[in-house]
Structure formats: C-alpha cells, structure tokens
C-alpha cells in the first residue's frame, strides 16, 4: 500500500515537472517581464509596454522571434451558437514559439489577419466532432464592430501540464479592428505578454544590457507611480515554477503542485517508514520461530555475514513482491482515484524508465532498511545460546518499542490532520462571506443603455427587493489604485459602485454612511473596508483624506471586511467609489429569501427576449467562487484517505506485534491462568508493556500533531477555522480505541485457549 502511494507521488511529480516540457523551444523562448518597486518591495510583472515587442524585434539581431500577446472579451457567433469568449491576439510567431501540435489546418496561417485558430475544446463547442477548417465565424467586438474570421487551424487538445494555452488565436493587428484607437506605440499602455525567442540563451545578457534604454523611455512616458526598475527574462522551461511570483502574467503557476509534491513526498516517506517499521518489528519478533534454524546454521559454520546476507536477500524478495502489489495498487486504484477526484489525466505511463529506476531505488532502500536491523540483530546471537534456548527475543528489544512509538505518533498526526481538514472544510462551508451572497444575483451588461433596459424589466419582478449598478463586482472584478497620502503611497483594491450596491449585496456598514442616491453627489468620497482602516491605523476613519490621480477624496464610511474571491485569497484593503453611470457593467439584485434560483431563471428568460444576440452572462452570487468548496472538500477527502491508510498500517503493526507477542507468551498465559489469573489480570499483563509505549506515543504525538496541524492549516489556508483540540482528542480517542480492540481480540484468544495446549513441552 505504501508503495502504491509512492508510485502515485512519482506520477504526480512527474506530471508537474513535465509542465511545458513538450515545447521544442522551451529553453530558447523567454517571457519579458519587468521589475518595479511597489510599497517598498521589488515586484515582478508579466505585462510589458505595448511598443516594446516591436522595438526588440528591430533593435536586436540576436532575437529571432518576438510575439506579443493580448486578450479581449468578445462574442462569437456561428449559426445558432453564440457565446462570450476570450480571444488571444498574437503575432503569427506564437505557434512557432509554442509548438502546440495542430489537429487540423496549418499553424502559419495566422499571418493573415482574417484567419482564426481554435483550440480543440472550442472546436467541439461550436462544431462538434466536425472538421471546421474553412468555415467562417463571426466575431463581435462590441455592439457595432464585428468581423468575420476564417478558421484555418484547430490545435490538438493541450496537455494539462502547460502554463500558457489559448481558446482562440487571431492576428495581433486585429486589435485595431476591435478598437480603432488602439495605439501600438503607446508606452503608457501594456500588452498582456511579450515573448522572445533567441538562438542562444547566452545572448540574453547582452540583450538585458541593451534594455536599459527602454527603461528610460518607459519611465519618461508613465507617471511616477508606475516607474519600473528593470526588465528581466523568464525562460519558458521554468516559467511554471516562477509564475506564482510574477504579477499580472498570463501563465499558470504550478506552485501549488510543488507544495503538494513536498507534502505528498513527506506522506509517502511516512507511509514507507510505517511499513518498514512494521516489517522490522514483526521480523524481530517472529524470528524467534527461526531461532533453531539460525543456531544450526551457525553451528555448521555459517559466519555472521552469511546469515545477514541470507536474511537481507530474503527480505528483498519479500519487498519485491510487495512492490509489485503496490505498483498494481497505485496504478489501478490510487492514481485513478486521484485523477477522478481532481478531474484530470496525469498521463501516467508504466513504460517510463525513470519510474523503474525510482522503484528499484525504493526496493533497495526499503529492502535494506527494513531487513538490515533485524538480520544484524538476529545474527548477533551465539549459536550455543540459541540452541540452549536461553535467548529471549523481541519482547525486550528497545528498538521494537521505539519503532512502535514512532509509528503511533505518525498515526496520531495523520489522524489529527484528517479530522482537522474535515472540520475545516465544514467550517469554511459555513463561514460568512461578509455579505449576503445567498440572496444576491448579478448580471453583466455591455453598456449603460442595456443596463437601463434590463433594470426596467427586472424591477417588475416581485421577488426583486433591491437593484444596484456597478462597474466592478464582488467576486468578479475590481480595479487597483494607488492612494497618495502626505507620508506614503498605498495600493488598494477599488470597486466602483452605486449607492444601492451596499444594500443589495448586504455589505455591513461599520461606521459613517453609504453614498447618497443622488445623481452626481459624493463624487469625491470613498467608503473603505475595515482592513484599510486598520492598516492605516486611523483611530477616526471618517473624514480622512487622500489623493487618487491628483484629486482629493474623503472617507465617509467604513464597511466590515468581506471576502471577494474565496477564502484562499486574503482580504485586501479596499475602497468603494461612486461609479459613473456610463461605466455600469454589472447589475446586481437582492431577491426575497428562497427565491434566488427562481428569479435567476426568470431573468435569464427575459434577457433572451430583450437581447437575442447577446449571450446571457450572470449568475447567483453564491457561485462566483467557482469550485472553491469542491476543492476544499477534496482536501478533506484526501486527508481522510491518507489517515485511513496510516491508521491501517498502525493497526496492522500493533496487531501484528501483539499477536506475535501473545503467541510467544501462550505458555506464560497458560501458567498464569492455572495460578488463578482472571480476565483482568491477563488483560493487564498483555497490555502493560504497550500501555507505557502508548502513553509515551500519545504524550509526544498529541502536542506534535497539534502544532504541526496548526502550522499546516496556517500555511495552506488564508482563512481557516479557529484551531482547537477536538481533532487531537479525536485522534487520541481513535488510537485508544484501536489499542482496546487489539487487546480485547488478543484477550479473547488467550481466554479461549485451553491451558493444557499452552503447557505442552515442545
């Protein structure tokens, strides 16, 4: 079982490390990033100024290819299918630098501005299994601007292990079609990414030096707030490991996966260790049965070395069999279980030569680790002592005891973690978001006139209690802004909303007032959250002032802290400003309790009548966190599985050890029975030696689990349940139960046995 877990961990690690490694130019392609000083620390950003790509292409002979990437939301229409989509505008080099294989079509077709390349997923979404090459698809950039594209390529489905992918690719020049004012030369604006490809990665140094002049241009063009410190390049091959630390970049981070690998490896080692301990313990105790054999072997001239080698090789054979079993278990149960839980394919292959290396390493390591000590221990004895029968095995061996204690401690830790993670997911499921997400709906609209039209219709619905408009929306979007105070600059999240937003979303006002519901009023006021007040150390927040973009704002209210984007993401200092009506992008609703779904459906239907060409985008506020709850419940499941396995191993160990022990003591128990020992006396003499070990294990294990789990929870969750002792108590209770069950099983065995059978002289 432990080996099965190891196989799984290998597969997972292998999968993570394989991220992006299928790209042919993984070592030659680099993401251009810049470093900038924000709030006193140097931050790396993945965006780049718009003109940089073109300049790099012109100025450096070393740079073979350059590719700019920018993304926009559009509506795509093919026959009856209309959806909101996110389209990637890129230079034609994109598919030369990222060598995604194509299923149909040609990858160099992007140089034509009228062509579009789809991912396989999107191809299926619009065209089913058909080959869509040559079909035309209509792209609506907004209400009036649209363009027909010809499909010239479909990419094969991407491996999940990649940092950058796409749904739709069109030529970068199309940015000017969607937005005629788009200025490619504006240093003040950014594209989502610029990538370069060089022939020789060592040229990078000279390029980096040459970047200095761009830095100067850039810093002249932008305001001081956004000044940058330097440019830097991130190689594609390792981008997935680094992207967690790069802000605003388009690549997906695999940091969580690395953390998981570390965690999983620790668990795997624990499991293997548990299994080895079991083996060592049982080997030592059960060897008593082979004493004669060893004695005889030694007396006929076997040296200690021969005995050791014999035992080790026997052990490796045993380990080999368990390895085969474990591999089977890993491949057929654990990996599919995990894949199904997280819904992806790790592309695990048995024919991987590294896997076999890894397994042989495990084989040797565990084989030797678990066999060495017992064999040395056994071979140490003199043959005369053995044959005389005066050697007593196992029971008194301190190593056996130590290992059992260790095992129990591990089991205690793992059970505690299972209990705590389960409790935590229950806790998070019930934790307040800081506002009323259950009775809120949101609909995104494309402009103000749509907003007004929709508002009129929606207001007629008797279930709707309050309607608000906003440019940003909780859980969906926000802006970032810099607050200027006399003594400092401070970055905060910004949400532009109207006066009714607070009531509609059920945000709690802690002090002051909300905006006036009057056109044009409160333009220069803000409402802040408690965290911002706390960070600013304002004793009297109302009336505090600061500047944003050179205009002065006054704080008029404070709202209680709320969670915008799930509990994984820390609450940020946030300000609310009055939104311009023209900028309304969201309409949010408060509905009568219990009518959320019904209202949602009704509005969806009305929308389809109102805007037949515009796909509906909206939902229940409760769903904006996506599969957050699913994810944390998977954590719970995972830990329960791990704890179950650890518990099984510990039970197996304890049970095995005890039954061997009791088996070795049948004679003693029979004598005791004849001397008048009752149930209690025998239970006591079985338990006594374990009781101390058990107590020791619990005394070390309980606090250790508590401290460790506290640390893990704090590390893994930004917000978690208040940590209490119930998890530890539960683990201790479970372990005590295990001990009692094991003892009572053994006790039954002893009591049922006939004393005479135990007193037979061999």
């Amino acid at each position: 079982m432990a080996i099965g877990v190891c196989v799984f961990i290998y597969a997972f690690a292998n999968w993570t490390y394989s991220t992006d490694q299928f790209h042919r130019y993984k070592n030659e392609v680099f993401l251009v990033t810049f470093l900038a000083n924000r709030d006193g620390t140097l931050q790396q950003y993945g965006q780049t100024p718009r003109p940089l790509g073109e300049m790099l292409r012109k100025d450096f002979a070393h740079i073979k290819k350059v590719c700019r990437v920018d993304d926009r939301n559009v509506v795509l229409k093919y026959e009856g299918n209309t959806f909101h989509e996110r389209v990637r505008y890129t230079d034609p080099e994109f598919l030369e630098m990222f060598t995604f294989p194509l299923k149909w079509g040609t990858s160099n077709s992007l140089s034509d501005v009228n062509n579009i390349i789809l991912s396989e997923k999107m191809s299926i979404k619009y065209f089913g299994e058909e080959n869509p090459i040559g079909q035309n698809i209509l792209m609506k950039f907004d209400k009036v601007k649209n363009k027909v594209f010809k499909i010239t390529g479909v990419a094969k489905s991407f491996p999940r292990a990649r940092t950058i992918g796409f749904d739709f690719l069109i030529n970068f020049e199309n940015l000017q079609v969607s937005d005629p004012d788009y200025d490619f030369q504006d240093w003040n604006s950014f594209v989502n990414a610029t990538l370069i490809q060089v022939d020789n990665p060592s040229d990078l140094e000279s390029i980096e030096q040459g970047m200095e002049k761009y830095r100067i241009i850039q810093n002249e063009a932008v305001k001081k707030d956004w000044a940058i410190a330097a440019f830097a390049f991130e190689p594609l091959a390792t981008l997935h490991e680094r992207s967690e630390d790069i802000r605003d970049d388009i690549s997906r981070s695999s940091k969580d996966n690395y953390a998981s690998i570390v965690f999983l490896s620790i668990i795997g080692i624990f499991m293997l260790a548990l299994a080895c301990f079991n083996y060592i313990n049982i080997a030592i105790v059960s060897v008593a049965k082979r004493l004669k054999e060893i004695g005889i072997r030694k007396s006929i001239g076997a040296t200690r070395k021969i005995v050791v080698v014999q035992f080790l090789s026997e052990n490796i054979v045993i380990t080999f069999f368990s390895l085969i079993l474990g591999l089977g278990l890993g491949v057929s149960v654990i990996i599919p279980w995990f894949e199904q839980m997280w819904g992806f394919n790790m592309a695990f292959q048995l024919m991987d030569k590294n896997l076999w290396l890894y397994l042989s390493a495990i084989l040797l390591l565990t084989g030797v680790a678990s066999g060495l000590y017992p064999s040395l221990y056994i071979s140490k004895f003199q043959s005369i002592e053995i044959l005389k029968g005066s050697v007593k095995f196992g029971r008194k061996n301190p190593v056996t005891k130590l290992l059992l204690v260790f095992q129990l401690i591990l089991a205690c830790i793992l059970i505690t973690s299972a209990v705590m993670f389960t409790q935590n997911s229950i806790y998070l499921a019930n934790r307040s978001w800081g506002y009323n997400q259950r009775e809120a709906l949101y609909i995104s609209v494309s402009d103000h006139s749509d907003f007004e039209k929709l508002k009129v219709i929606v207001a007629q619905n008797p279930n709707v209690m309050s309607i608000a408009g906003s440019s940003h929306h909780l859980g969906k979007s926000n802006a970032t802004t810099v607050l200027h105070m006399p003594d400092r600059e401070y970055e905060a999240d910004q949400l532009s909303v109207d006066a009714k937003y607070f009531e509609t979303m059920g945000l709690h006002l802690a002090a002051g007032r909300v905006f006036n519901n009057q056109e044009g009023s409160d333009k220069q006021t803000v409402i802040v959250n408690e965290l911002l007040v706390k960070n600013m150390a304002w004793s009297q927040p109302i009336g505090q002032q600061f500047e944003i973009d050179s205009s002065r704002f006054v704080v008029i209210g404070v709202v209680k802290d709320f969670h915008s984007y799930s509990f994984f993401i820390p609450i940020n200092p946030t300000i609310f400003r009055v939104a311009d009506k023209a900028d309304f992008r969201f309409l949010s609703l408060k509905v009568r309790p219990g009518s959320t779904l019904e209202t949602y459906k009704a509005i969806q239907t009305q929308w389809a009548v109102l805007f037949p060409d515009d796909p509906f985008q909206g939902g229940c506020q409760e769903d904006v966190w996506g599969n957050y709850y699913e994810e944390i419940s998977i954590h719970g499941k995972f830990w329960r599985a791990v704890a179950f396995m650890a518990l099984m191993l510990a039970i197996l160990g304890l049970y095995g050890l005890m039954s061997l022990n009791v088996a070795g003591r049948v004679r003693e128990f029979s004598i005791r029975k004849v001397l008048g020992a009752g149930l209690k006396n025998i239970a006591a003499s079985i338990t006594r030696q374990y009781l101390i070990l058990f107590a020791a294990a619990l005394i070390i294990g309980a606090p250790a689990s508590y401290i460790l789990l506290k640390f893990v929870l704090e590390y893994a969750y930004t917000y978690h349940m208040p940590i209490n002792y119930s998890g530890v108590v539960m683990a201790v209770a479970i372990l005590i139960l295990v001990l009692l069950t094991t003892v009572s099983l053994q006790l039954r065995r002893v009591l049922k046995s006939n004393p005479v059978d135990g007193l037979k002289v061999e």
């Binding site: 007593k392 029971r395 004598i671 008048g676 020992a677 009752g678 009591l751 004393p755 005479v756």
Partner: protein, 226 residues
C-alpha cells in the same frame, strides 16, 4: 472430594480416536494422599490435568466438592485455581520473565492477598526450601532441580485444599525428594490438604495412603498403603 465417573479422554487421529484415558472411575476423599503410577504414556499427566481442571474430559462426569466440574464456566474455574488447587508441573512451568520471588508472588496477587502477608509467606517458604539466596534469580539461571523446588513452593504458597503434583521429585536428588515428600506428608497430616501425585518411584508413592496403577488409560488396580 473428587468423584470421577467413566472419564474418557481421546485425541482425534485421522478418522480414529486415540484414547488416552478410558472408563476411569475414581473417588478421592478429602484428606487423602493418593499416588498415581504407571508406565510412560499411560495417561498419568492427562488424568492429573483433568483433576486440575486444566483439561476437559471428552466424556464422563467429574464432581468436585459436590459440584459438576464438567459444567463449570471459565470464571468458576478461575476461582477454583485461586482457592482450591495448587499444581506442580512435570516441566516446572515457571514464568521466565519473573524472578523466583515474583513467581511465588503471582498466585498470591491473583488471590488478592495483602502485600505484607505475601512477603511473610514467601519468606517462610523460601526459608523452608533453602532458596533465600536465589530469590532474585530468573528461572533460566537455576538448575532443573532448583526450578522444580520453586514449582513446588509455588503450588503450596496459596495454601490450597488440593495439591496436584506431576512428578514433583523427578529432577531432585533423593535427599531433596525426601524433604519434599515430608512436606507433603506434613501438609496432609496436619493441615488436611488433599494431595494427588504422579510418581515413578515406589518409595515416594508409599508416602500416600493409596496408589492408583494406570495402564493404557485404564485404572488397572488400586493398592492401599498400610
């Protein structure tokens, strides 16, 4: 005290039964001192084990002080061990992990004898058997004869009403054997303890008032010692 009616004990050997005891009838009154003799393998130990309630007859009735032993449960049997029976094993069967002193103490602990009294009783017996110097040794550190002495001492320590001894003197020098027999006789005469012993020695058998001769699992004849 003891009433055996048609006691049988067999072991299944394939489809056949090998009888170790067959149609054993016996009556042992309280205060008797009975010796059992017979060739090796005749079933002496088996009979003694049945009398000591360590083993159960496959058939027949066993009455002890008017109670049906063949109907006893585990708990009642444990009480019997504690209160009435002291057993001396042919193979000594001391507890290896305990010292001589602790071995002697164990039955007293089970009998819930207070600690002070335990001490004095053990000191008495050790003295009587000249084993004071050996009290802190483990069984493995004793000779066979010494172990046997401890085994006998352990059977006596609980002051049982019935002592069952399986070749208690098999490993002892004749001098020591004689002393043990004297102890038995004294217990029997002065304290009225009932004693059943298995022995190969005619001489030791004569300490009893009656000898049962066992052969092939049957009581061949009974002999009264005058």
């Amino acid at each position: 005290m003891i009433e055996l009616k048609n006691i049988e004990r067999y072991y299944p050997a394939g489809s056949l039964k090998t009888y170790v005891l067959r149609y054993v009838n016996a009556h042992i009154a309280e205060g008797e001192f009975v010796s059992i003799m017979g060739p090796s393998g005749s079933g002496k130990s088996t009979l003694l084990h049945i009398l000591g309630m360590l083993d159960e007859p496959t058939d027949g009735e066993f009455w002890f002080l008017g109670e049906a032993v063949h109907k006893f449960n585990e708990r009642r049997r444990t009480e019997m061990y504690r209160e009435y029976i002291g057993f001396v094993f042919q193979a000594y069967h001391l507890i290896d992990d305990l010292t001589v002193y602790e071995n002697l103490e164990t039955p007293l602990i089970y009998k819930k004898v207070p600690s002070a009294e335990r001490k004095s009783r053990i000191a008495d017996l050790l003295d009587r058997f000249n084993m004071v110097a050996k009290k802190d040794l483990f069984p493995a550190q004793l000779s066979g004869g010494q172990q046997q002495l401890v085994g006998v001492a352990r059977a006596l320590i609980g002051r049982p009403k019935l002592i069952l001894a399986d070749e208690p003197t098999g490993n002892l020098q004749s001098q020591q054997a004689k002393e043990i027999m004297e102890v038995f006789r004294q217990l029997n005469k002065e304290d009225g303890v009932t004693i059943v012993q298995v022995t190969h020695s005619e001489e030791n058998a004569k300490y009893g008032n009656r000898i049962l001769h066992l052969k092939d699992g049957r009581v061949e004849n009974e002999e009264l010692v005058k």
